[in-house]
Symmetry: C2
Subunit: 80 residues, 2 copies
């Protein structure tokens, strides 16, 4: 069954508060060479169907449920 | 500056409650061909340094802060 990996990130123009917190915490641990931390979501799932159908349906799932298209971008990979 | 992508997932033996909720919600929307949904975290960041140093430091950051090694697995990619 095709394995799908979905990556959801905040749109680049939006302030990523979680990313800032992580960046500050890493700085406090001594990692001051880390910049531009962005925190997102990662979803793995198995989707039955041929690849064109899976791609079409996963795009729909992202638009309808998994991502918020107003503030988030998404991309996904289908692995046979 | 090298771009790092970190993927953090619950260990496979643990029940992923968020993943189950997403699977049920997708089923309710008519996508009953989706199984084994696992929800994780995705972190993008820029880390200054040569690749061996970046890889070593990112592994440390995951062990010390980004992931909980007791219940989570992580992997990462360094893109020059």
């Amino acid at each position: 069954m095709p394995q799908v990996k979905v990556f959801i990130t905040l749109k680049p123009t939006l302030l990523d508060a979680q990313g800032r917190v992580i960046e500050n915490a890493l700085g406090a641990l001594g990692y001051d060479n880390v910049k531009q931390v962005r925190m997102g979501k990662y979803i793995e799932m198995e989707v039955q169907g041929d690849t064109p159908r899976v791609e079409r349906e996963v795009r729909e799932m992202c638009d309808r449920l998994l991502a918020n298209p107003v503030i988030e971008d998404y991309r996904f990979e289908v692995v046979e």
